[in-house]
Every structure is written in structure tokens, then in C-alpha cells.
Symmetry: C2
Subunit: 410 residues, 2 copies
């Protein structure tokens, strides 16, 4: 009997109408005879009382003086409430369901409170409930240490709970329900004719997630990829099949690999570019700069080391600290604020020399200077001024034909 894991986020559980859609998806799969494991996030949007943010707000006024262990206990309530509310809805529909905490579901983690890693999932109890034709509802985002302490997996942790459960239970598929119709070719708030993709590879979605697309948490993708469990990203609010995420090789072998070189675009805003250029300087210039950044937990990106100096970017909210650190080291950086990093992603671009040319042509024709660029075998990144972002995304989307049907798989 096929086993399916379904994950529903906070927005999908925020009100009675949304929960009605959630029920429909669960009951549909259950009535198909599948064994159904449902993973839930804390319900509600930011600001509503049982959302994770609101629970944190309860202790924020105390100077955040809460130890990590107790912080995780507090946060765990969000998913516990969701799970029991969903359980009551299923029972009201005559479907037997059981709600399990992460610990009761057998999700054992280390004790890094706030960002715990799953060590092992002991499936016996879930399998027993499934054998009794119960829907198993598991609180996402959380687990338990071997000594019985409640832990949380960090933001995006419910996605990771879902794919990790899928891997442990050898699920046929993990469905990640969200409020969009799958993974889009670009952010629809910026590109009006962005379209949902039928299929995407683990590598591609991972690149999208790492580069600013809010689709699914990168750790969750890694877990699914490692176990080879297919993931579907789909909408709670429709019956559409969403986007299937699986191995590129599998997509190719099944003939659903469309020969587009570029799959989609992602972007990150509010990036600050720092340039330290001095012809005369200490030999360990780079080393001293990056050590200083690392020791203050400032993430650096777009690193470009040249004989005459160093270019790199930091997130806007780290910029003033980074500049201060550089000045302490005796450097006077050139600072360019409000940049955007655009990622052009495609598993098929590997070894395709024309891709960069298309990017340069599209941006140049739109009058947008490229401030910096970088590339891997599946992604090309360009740094531009944020004021050109909408134009750039639209120009690239059109240049790569991302707005055109059919996309992969059709």
C-alpha cells in the first residue's frame, strides 16, 4: 500500500476555509487507499496568536533571556496546536487520526536547540498507527533528544520533517503544499508572466532555494535527494499537480527532460557590494578580510579575488558592520548599496557556452550594467543595481523563453 507524506504550512492552516482545502487533500489520498502521514507547521500567518512569530513575541520583551531549551519547548506548541486541530477536523469527518509530537513520531535529534539535526527516525509507532488505517499527523519542525528534551529544527524545519519522514518511511512521494501552484519560473510579483514548472531537478530547486526563491527549505531538498524520494510542490488551494522534484537523470530517462537550458530565475535583494582595492598592501590581504568577516558571523558572497584587491558582497543588514571591520583593518572600501543578485538556473546549461552571452545581451539591451558575475555548472549569477531588478528579471525571463508553453514534461 503506497505511503504518502503531505506537508501543510501555516498559511494552509490559518482559517476554516483553508483547513477545508487541507482536509480535501488528505481525504482524497486516504480514500485512494494510501497510508497517509501529514506534517503540519504552526498555524496562522505572522501576528496570529499561534504562529511561531507570535509565540516568540511572548518572550521577546524579556530581552530574549530564554535558554534555547525552553525556547524550543515554547515554539513546539505552535505545531502541537495545529496537529490537534487537524486531528479534530479529521475525526469530525469520520476519519480516524492520531496526532504525534516529533518525539512520539520517533524523530530523534541532537541537542542543538533551535537548529537541531535529525539523527534517526524510529518508525515503529507510525507504522503501527498506519496499519490500523489511521492518518498519522506529525508536528513538523520538531523532534526530541534521546533524553526526552523537545528540540526544533530551525526555520523551514517542517519541510525537513516531511522529507526526512518520507525517506525513513520510504514514501512514494512527499507533497509540500503551499499557497502557489508549484515552482514558478520566477517570482510572479516581479515577472508578470512567470509560469509553474511541471518538473524540476533536486539540484535546480536547491539552487533556487539557496538563491532567494521561497519554495522549499534547502535542507529538506538535500534529505529528499539523498534518499531519492520524489517531492511535489503544489497548491493547497487547487487540485493542480504542482511541480515534481526528482533526480535530473530520472527526468531525462523518463523523457520528461525538456531541452531548455534554463529552468528559472531567482533573486536576492538588498545586497551591498564592497570593494577593497590597493596596489600596495600586505600579502595576506584576503585572509585578513575574510577572517574578520567570519569571526563576526557576516556571510560573504560573490567573492572575487584579484591581484589588486578583493570584491565581495554582504547582506544589506550586515553592511555597516562589515565596513567598520574593514576600516579597523586599515582599508577604505568602495561601498555600493542596494544591489540585487539575480540567479539564472538550469540543469541543462552545463557546458552551454551561449548562456552567458544571452544574459549579457538581454541586460545590455535593457540598459542594465552587470556589476559582477559568477557561475557554476548549473547557475549563473549576476549582480546588478536593485533599481534595475524588475527590468532585468523580465528581460532574462523573455530571453530564455521561460514564458512560453510547453515547459518540461509536456
Amino acid at each position: 500500500m503506497e505511503l504518502i507524506v503531505q506537508k501543510f504550512g501555516g498559511t494552509s492552516l490559518s482559517d476554516a476555509q483553508s483547513r477545508g482545502y487541507v482536509l480535501r487533500h488528505i481525504i482524497r489520498e486516504f480514500k485512494l487507499g494510501k497510508r497517509v502521514v501529514v506534517v503540519v507547521s504552526a498555524m496562522g500567518r505572522s501576528g496570529e496568536p499561534y504562529a511561531t512569530d507570535s509565540l516568540l513575541e511572548l518572550v521577546r520583551s524579556n530581552g530574549n533571556a530564554l535558554p534555547g531549551r525552553e525556547r524550543d519547548m515554547l515554539l513546539s506548541c505552535g505545531e502541537l496546536i495545529s496537529a490537534t486541530v487537524l486531528c479534530s477536523l479529521l475525526h469530525a469527518e469520520g476519519i480516524s487520526a492520531v496526532a504525534l509530537t516529533g518525539g512520539q513520531a520517533g524523530i530523534l535529534t541532537d541537542d542543538h536547540y533551535g537548529s537541531a539535526r535529525i539523527l534517526e527516525i524510529q518508525c515503529e509507532r507510525m507504522l503501527r498507527h498506519l496499519a490500523e488505517h489511521q492518518v498519522v499527523i506529525v508536528t513538523g519542525f520538531q523532534g526530541m533528544t534521546r533524553s526526552g528534551e523537545i528540540t526544533t529544527l530551525g526555520r523551514g524545519g517542517s519541510d525537513t520533517s516531511a522529507t526526512a519522514l518520507g525517506a525513513a518511511l520510504k514514501a512514494g512521494v512527499v507533497d509540500i503544499y503551499t499557497d502557489v501552484d508549484g515552482i514558478l519560473t520566477a517570482d510572479p510579483r516581479w515577472v508578470s508572466n512567470a509560469r509553474p514548472l511541471k518538473t524540476v531537478s533536486y539540484e535546480e530547486i536547491s539552487n533556487m532555494a539557496h538563491n532567494g526563491a521561497k519554495v522549499i527549505h534547502p535542507r529538506a531538498v538535500e534529505v529528499a535527494m539523498k534518499a531519492g524520494i520524489p517531492v511535489r510542490v503544489r497548491s493547497t488551494f487547487s487540485e493542480g499537480e504542482g511541480t515534481l522534484v526528482t533526480h535530473a537523470e530520472l527526468l531525462k530517462s523518463q523523457g520528461v527532460w525538456y531541452d531548455k537550458t534554463v529552468t528559472g530565475l531567482a533573486h536576492v535583494r538588498d545586497v551591498t557590494q564592497l570593494a577593497v582595492t590597493q596596489v600596495e598592501g600586505p600579502a595576506d590581504l584576503q585572509l585578513r578580510i575574510f577572517r574578520a568577516m567570519a569571526s563576526h558571523a557576516i556571510s560573504v558572497d560573490f567573492i572575487n579575488v584579484m591581484p589588486t584587491g578583493v570584491h565581495y558582497t554582504v547582506s544589506g543588514h550586515d553592511a555597516s558592520k562589515a565596513v567598520a571591520l574593514l576600516r579597523e583593518l586599515g582599508f577604505e572600501p568602495r561601498v555600493r548599496e542596494r544591489c540585487a543578485k539575480v540567479s539564472v538556473i538550469g540543469g541543462g546549461m552545463n557546458g552551454e557556452p551561449g548562456v552567458m552571452a544571452v544574459i549579457v545581451e538581454a541586460l545590455t539591451n535593457s540598459g542594465i550594467p552587470i556589476l559582477q558575475s559568477a557561475d557554476s555548472n548549473t547557475t549563473i549569477w549576476v549582480l546588478i543595481s536593485e533599481e534595475g531588478l524588475a527590468t532585468a528579471l523580465q528581460a532574462l525571463h523573455t530571453a530564455f523563453g521561460l514564458h512560453l508553453a510547453p515547459d518540461r514534461g509536456h
Copy 2:
């Protein structure tokens, strides 16, 4: 080093100002060098998002179709949130504290979800934290089964958690903090000159609690009484010492037993009196009536069996069902709605023949007919019409001199 258990209810934890008072009580005892265990209820008043009622409201619209196990999981969040918020406040004051769920605190219960009984308390973990000079905060109202399921102890369960922890940890005292200055001679909303008592016996407070006074849960009193742990009922919002609850014998031996025969008054409203009187009738009249009530879970009180029939009372919300059952049995009861049961309580009234005379005189002089009466060695109950309740309570309070200082112990 003395060990103290302090219990704070929902109202005491409902806002920042109240929580400030709570902190003061904890820190005062901690700085005296005591080992402090704090038991918390769900915070906030009815209607606020993290109160027990509000959590239940989340599933009420689903026809209450939630199994008891999951209902207890849901409700446990209320205390979990309180405990972690209080933990953060203590840390902000520089005091190390740890929040423990009922299960983590070692409170093992049976699996009667919603009204679980404590089987055992394993104190090792609490003692370890106390030895490390940590304040131990325990979620009230809940425990864990031996197989790791979350259970709740039923309403008033936080009081029971507190006295049970006091008994297991051999506490010097259990302080039950509330929003009044201890146990009063009568409900101050009905008797304007009701006064707080310095001391009261377990038996007396148990009688008060069983007869409508909202002071402390009867089960909590039983647990404290059995273990001989003194309990103080006191106000969160003052430094007053409240009312000391202990064995009557102890109070007497310490010379703090004041020779008042009556300690206080309690009352229950919305009582319906049913009278079945028929001279000719089956011999097992009483049996058939009380079997019918019991099989429909209708609590009966003030039972008065006579050769010619039966009088008894039921709670107002059970009245119409009780009447229907009586009619099914072929009886036509006389129904008197909106009665009140007044309890005159005092450990010193045993064998004092004058007490009933004072009651009759006080009520007769106030023009209030006694509809029925009953008595035990520590309590006399009278049933009156609810419209006379305020007058009756005030008249009895005055007749027994309950408004006069000094009361017991001073």
C-alpha cells in the same frame, strides 16, 4: 535547605504587571535560600488566546470530535507557554531556571485523558536542578503516562500538581497564589464584610471547596492532607500571608485554634429541588429514581427519603432531564427552580447543639424560609430560594460573628 512549592494561576500570569508580582514572590523565597519549585497554570483569563478555554475553542467548532488523547496534547500547550514565559522572565532577572513538562518533572499518571490520576512522582530530575540552584518551573495540570503520552488532570489540576509535588518533594509549605487575600469567611461579592481567615483546617477548606467556594481544588486538599503538607492560600498581588491550611489537631496544639464554632459560609446557586410524594407506590420507589439519575450521570444532593416520598436537588442545568426521567418512571414531581444551597462550615461545631438554632433564628428573622436542611459533624446545609441568598448570607455571617476580628490565630 527548605523546599517550597509555589503555584500561580492563570490570572496571576495574565499580563506583564501581574507577572511582575509573580516574579517578586519567587525571587523573595529564592533569595531566602530556599529551593523553589513553581507550578503554573495556563496564562490569561478566559477568552485570551493561551487560556485553556481558548485552546478548547479551537476544536469546539468541529463538534468536539477530538479524542481525549489529542485534547490533552492541545491543552498541555497552555501551561507549556506559561512555564517558558516565566522562565524567560527569571533569566532576565539573572536567576537560573528550568521549565519542565509534567512528564519531564517525573509526574507519571494513568491514561484517563482529561482526568488522569497521578500514580507516582519521580523527583530525581527536579532535585538535580534544585541542587544546582535553579528554580524549577513545572507545567501544572499535566503529567505523562509510562508510555510517554501527555495527560491532563482535569480542571483545578494545577492545584493538585502543586500539592502532589509538595508531598513528593517533602516541601515545608505549598503556597497557592490567587487573586484574593486568602480564604474568606464568605464570598465577598455577596457578603460585603467577609474577612480573610488566618487559619483553616483541611477538612474545613475541603468542605468549602465541595460546597461552591472557589478557593482550591478538593483533590489538591486531599493530597496535602494525606501527606500533612501545610498549604497557604494567598494573594499574588500583596505581601499578605494569606490563610494557612493544615490539620485541625495541629492548629489546636499550637494554640491557634480560635473557639469560634463556625469558620465560614459557602454557597451554590441554581439548584432545583424535586419532590416525589405519593402515598401509594412501588416499594422500590427510591431505588428506581436514583438508579435513573445515576445512569444519566445526574448528580443528586440534599437527598431526603421519607416513608411518603423523596426530596432531592439537582443542578439547574440537569433539571429538565431529571424531570423527564421521573415522568418516564410514572412520577409527577413537584419542581422548585432557582434555589440556593448555603453551607455553614466549622470544624468546631461538632456536637454544638446551638448552631442549628442560630441558623433558624437568623433566617426566620430575615423572612427566609428553609426549604430543606442537612448536616454533618462539620457542616450544616440549608436550601433556600435563590432570591433570598444575599440576605441569608449576610444574616448568617453576622449571626456567627464572622465579620468580627480577631479571627482564629490572633
